[in-house]
């Protein structure tokens, strides 16, 4: 394993161990609901479902349609805050 992948693995492990990953997930969920991202995405889902048909929609269909748009629609402020938190964690626990 290269040094880099070892470091990544360590960091990821630490993130999970310290509970920070769960906290970050929850933080993101709350922020995205607050800023209306979830409602926007739900509206987009409605379009997709009406397109593909209510009976035949699969999780795959949704994932393929939703994920790219979801990634793009995250507001800058939320993104900045998340990145900040992750950097702070790394600064504390890396090296």
């Amino acid at each position: 394993m290269s040094r880099e992948s070892r470091m990544r693995a360590t960091i990821n492990q630490r993130l999970t161990e310290k509970g920070e990953r769960e906290r970050l997930k929850e933080l993101l969920r709350v922020k995205l609901t607050e800023c209306g991202w979830k409602d926007q995405m739900k509206a987009h889902c409605k379009e997709v479902i009406k397109d593909k048909g209510l009976e035949h929609i699969t999780v795959e269909d949704l994932v393929v349609e939703i994920t790219p748009k979801g990634r793009a629609l995250v507001p800058d402020s939320v993104k900045k805050e998340l990145l900040q938190r992750i950097r702070a964690f790394l600064a504390q626990h890396a090296t």
Partner: protein, 190 residues
């Protein structure tokens, strides 16, 4: 700017910065997946479109966004400027000032100096002995009953019921008597 705000620089740190972004992407994707599962379940269980019905009902219950009206379309400050006639002094009072006015006018509220008003009234009409019974006004305080405040009734009820002070004196004496009686009784052989 704080240290955490700046992207990490330097050769080693570009890798760290890339890691930061990877972790972020993972978190976002996780959120999107969560949403997909939630929506998919709602669709299959049949509750996804529950907030939409036929067009007619949607129109009927649409949120109203006009000035002076609440979201149901009802006027909400209709009674603000209406005037009411006071049953006591027969004046026309504004609705928002009506309750405090009644307090003062009927002599019933907390700050209405009811005792002073009564004293004034009774001093004008009656002899001195009547005003001695003003003490129990505070103790027989009954803010919520309108009828009890009528002066004719109040004078009768003063004579019928014992004063609260007299009652508590009797109660206290009885307690002391019983205490002495039973504590002395323990010393007697049975």
């Amino acid at each position: 700017m704080k240290m955490e705000d700046m992207p990490l620089s330097g050769p080693d740190n570009t890798k760290l910065e890339a890691l930061v972004h990877d972790i972020y992407s993972e978190l976002v994707e996780d959120a999107c997946l969560g949403l997909c599962f939630e929506v998919h379940r709602a669709v299959k269980q049949g509750y996804f479109f529950l907030d939409e019905t036929d067009q007619e009902s949607m129109k009927e219950f649409e949120i109203v966004d006009q000035p002076g009206v609440d979201i149901f379309g009802q006027v909400y400050n209709q009674w603000k400027n209406k005037e009411c006639e006071c049953p006591n002094c027969k004046r026309l009072i504004a609705a928002s000032r009506f309750a405090p006015h009644l307090e003062k006018c009927l002599g019933m509220g907390r700050n209405s100096s009811r005792i002073a008003n009564r004293r004034l009234a009774s001093n004008n009409n009656m002899s001195k002995s009547e005003s001695d019974q003003e003490d129990n006004d505070d103790l027989n305080d009954n803010d919520w009953s309108y009828g009890a405040e009528k002066k004719a009734k109040k004078r009768k009820s003063d004579k019928v019921f014992l004063h609260f002070k007299q009652l508590s004196f009797i109660h206290l004496s009885l307690q002391i008597f019983l205490f002495i009686h039973f504590s002395c009784g323990e010393n007697v052989d049975h």
